[in-house]
């Protein structure tokens, strides 16, 4: 298993899943919550229990796109002194043991602060395959996307329910890996109901692109994941629900909880 599939790109992986007729499961966890040792174990747990891609959140002081659960996780991680270089060092040792491509989810300022070329070089070295930068919309993407592409990192762009059609097309054109469809007008976090307009948004997107589409924000239960799959998504991203489970109780309890949860999600979206 070692490293065999770890060279796979984000787009190759999600397309492979799609070609099998499956929907990809994409869990999100926050690095350093409760600590990086646990994050490393959690990545392995997710890798072995149904994750097709994993989004790893770099904790940031001002996460504008995140709701209370992920904000709180980031705050805890920062209070413990989690630093980007520690996150990367952890990935360097863990990623060779994973078959799941890792997507780093980070706000722009830590990238800018590190210097874009340095940052890209470092994330490539530790085996990261993709990037999501939620506060870098299409208009600001030119500083990052071409350099990332040259470095072999795919940058996933987000589209939202508020995105007009001509803009959808422009984003879909430049997007790499997969298109991240934000399912709600809002921040990340668990919601009891999936908005039915997600189905329309998926249809609209599929009319303008054949790139894979992952749906995220607000999906927290297997039934919701299944609904998203049935509406035609190529991937389902689940964040807060994982972060919350991992943070509850003792470390081993958190890891057990996400193991079971990951399996149940996978089962719900498996054909």
């Amino acid at each position: 298993m070692m490293g065999s599939a770890s060279t796979m790109s984000v787009s190759a992986k999600i397309k492979a899943v799609r070609d099998r007729g499956d929907c990809a499961l994409i869990p999100f966890i926050t690095a350093g919550d409760p600590d990086l040792e646990t994050t490393a174990k959690a990545l392995t747990v997710l890798d072995r229990n149904g994750a097709d891609l994993i989004e790893l959140g770099v904790p940031y002081s001002d996460p504008l796109a995140d709701g209370p659960v992920i904000q709180a996780a980031a705050t805890r991680a920062l209070e413990r002194g989690t630093r980007l270089e520690d996150v990367l060092a952890m990935l360097k040792s863990v990623s060779p043991t994973l078959s799941t491509p890792i997507i780093l989810f980070t706000y722009y300022n830590p990238i800018l602060n590190r210097g874009i070329p340095t940052f890209l070089q470092e994330v490539v070295e530790v085996g990261v395959k993709g990037l999501v930068v939620p506060d870098l919309p299409l208009e600001e993407m030119d500083v990052l996307l071409p350099q990332a592409e040259a470095a072999g990192i795919e940058v996933t762009l987000l589209v939202a329910p508020t995105t007009p059609k001509d803009r959808l097309m422009a984003i879909a054109q430049r997007c790499q890996g997969f298109i991240y469809l934000v399912s709600v007008t809002g921040v990340t976090g668990m919601r009891s109901k999936i908005e039915s307009r997600v189905q329309d948004l998926l249809l609209e997107l599929q009319q303008v692109t054949d790139k894979p589409i992952g749906v995220g924000f607000g999906i927290s239960e297997p039934g919701q994941a299944r609904q998203i799959m049935e509406w035609g998504a190529d991937g389902v991203i689940v964040g807060s629900a994982f972060v919350k489970r991992l943070a509850e109780g003792e470390t081993h309890q958190g890891l057990e909880a996400i193991e079971g949860f990951c399996r149940s999600l996978k089962a719900a979206i498996a054909e």
Binding site: S61, L84, P134, G186
Partner: protein, 414 residues
């Protein structure tokens, strides 16, 4: 006595259109926000350009500024403050105060709140949100929402709610909901983040009245333009009083709206020195300050690239100032641009120096300034001894200090 020529001097690079079509002031500014907000920012920009030129919009805005706000605000010659800094031979800086503290609600913030609420009603938005630090922008927003019958939610850090309790009551009295923000240090940065999250969630029904020349484009431009009346009036009043330009403009800078409102009109008059004063807190060496332009590095916060107080990893650090309105780790992008162009100068004064100035203006002029404004006044201590002759200096007296008496009472032994 030096007479300043009125004619503008050689065009500087700063005479270029600011911001450019991408919402940039040089490298600063831009739109670093989640995708969900991008269409709303475009809509706001379009609405601003459209209505700004329309006669009925301008008429309504100008009428409200005159009859509701009480504009124009006076340009007042501070005689005893001037005497205080005079040299033995009688020369010295001639100090004028642009009395924004006399506006309805007690600060300059109302200029922008009125402009934006007129945009919001024309865009069909029935719900208004805002962030506030000192509470002056919150009060201004609550005021215009009461005036126009709109739902109003104000985000305010818990620490600021405590130190600006008077303003919390004023907002609630006018029917606004004040939502406490506990994250971080419970100050302006945290309130702004929470307001942006609300906007991301409710963007289709809600207009966000951002209160400073910060945030994503078009806010830095739009807020500046709604405050430009400060500078325009100042120019006319200087012309009327002595037939020329001021030599120096002085204003406090947190996000930088009152400073931009005063400066903008004069940026292309190269003879006019522009000086912004930041919050030095407990001193620049203490790490407990909010002197973004003095001590920050280029970064991205709340949608704009600008100078930013951040740690070695690019995490935003918690600032400190005795003044809730200056207690912010970022700054408006146009100030960063003016600093890098060397068109404006930025310095800082400490909490203690601001408190001293708070007392000094109260005792010499019978004007109790806001603690924010007191920072600008405090810088006279450093500036006046450096100046030859009798230059004319205009301070933006951006707000009144009633809201700060509780805070000041803790520090002043009266």
């Amino acid at each position: 006595m030096t007479l300043t020529p009125i004619s503008p001097s050689n065009p500087q690079p700063t005479t270029l259109q600011r911001p450019d079509a991408q919402g940039r002031f040089g490298q600063f500014g831009g739109k670093y926000v989640p995708e969900t907000l991008m269409p709303a920012l475009a809509e706001l920009e379009t609405a601003f350009y459209h209505y700004q030129k329309q006669a009925d919009f301008q008429a309504e805005y100008q009428n409200l500024l005159r009859d509701y706000v009480g504009r124009p605000s006076p340009l007042y010659f501070a005689e005893r403050l001037t005497q205080h800094y005079a040299r033995p031979d009688g020369t010295g800086v001639q100090i004028y105060l642009k009395r924004e503290d006399l506006n309805h609600t007690g600060a300059h913030k109302i200029n922008n709140a009125i402009g934006q609420v007129l945009l919001a009603t024309r865009m069909g938005k029935k719900r208004i949100i805002a962030e506030t630090g000192a509470g002056q922008h919150g009060v201004a927003t609550a005021t215009v929402c009461a005036r126009f019958g709109l739902d109003c939610v104000i985000y305010m850090g818990v620490h600021d709610m405590e130190r600006q309790a008077l303003n919390v009551f004023r907002m609630r009295l006018m029917g606004a909901e004040v939502r406490p923000v506990e994250a971080g240090t419970g100050t302006l940065k945290d309130a702004t983040s929470e307001a942006i999250r609300d906007w991301v969630t409710n963007v289709e029904t809600t207009h966000y009245i951002l209160g400073s020349v910060a945030g994503p484009h078009p806010y830095p431009m739009l807020v500046r333009d709604f405050h430009t009346v400060i500078g325009e009036e100042t120019r006319a009043q200087c012309q009327e009083k002595w037939g020329g330009l001021p030599d120096i403009l002085l204003a406090c800078v947190g996000g930088g709206s009152n400073a931009m409102g005063l400066f903008h009109e004069f940026v292309n008059d190269a003879s006019v020195r522009l000086i912004g004063v930041e919050a030095g807190g407990e001193g620049l060496q203490s790490e407990k300050h909010a002197a973004t332009l003095t001590r920050g590095r280029v970064g991205v916060l709340h949608g704009a690239m600008s100078y930013l107080l951040q740690d070695q990893d690019g995490q935003v650090v918690e600032p400190h100032s005795i003044s809730a309105g200056l207690d912010y780790p970022g700054v408006g992008p146009e100030h960063s641009f003016l600093k890098d162009q060397a068109r404006a100068e930025y310095y800082s004064v400490t909490d203690q120096e601001a408190l001293d100035a708070f007392q000094r203006l109260s005792q010499l002029e019978g004007i109790i300034p806001a603690l924010e404004t007191a920072h600008a006044i405090a810088y006279l201590e450093t500036l006046c001894p450096q100046l030859d002759g009798s230059p004319r200096l205009v301070i933006n007296c951006s707000g009144r200090g009633d809201k700060d008496v509780q805070t000041a009472a803790k520090h002043l032994d009266l």
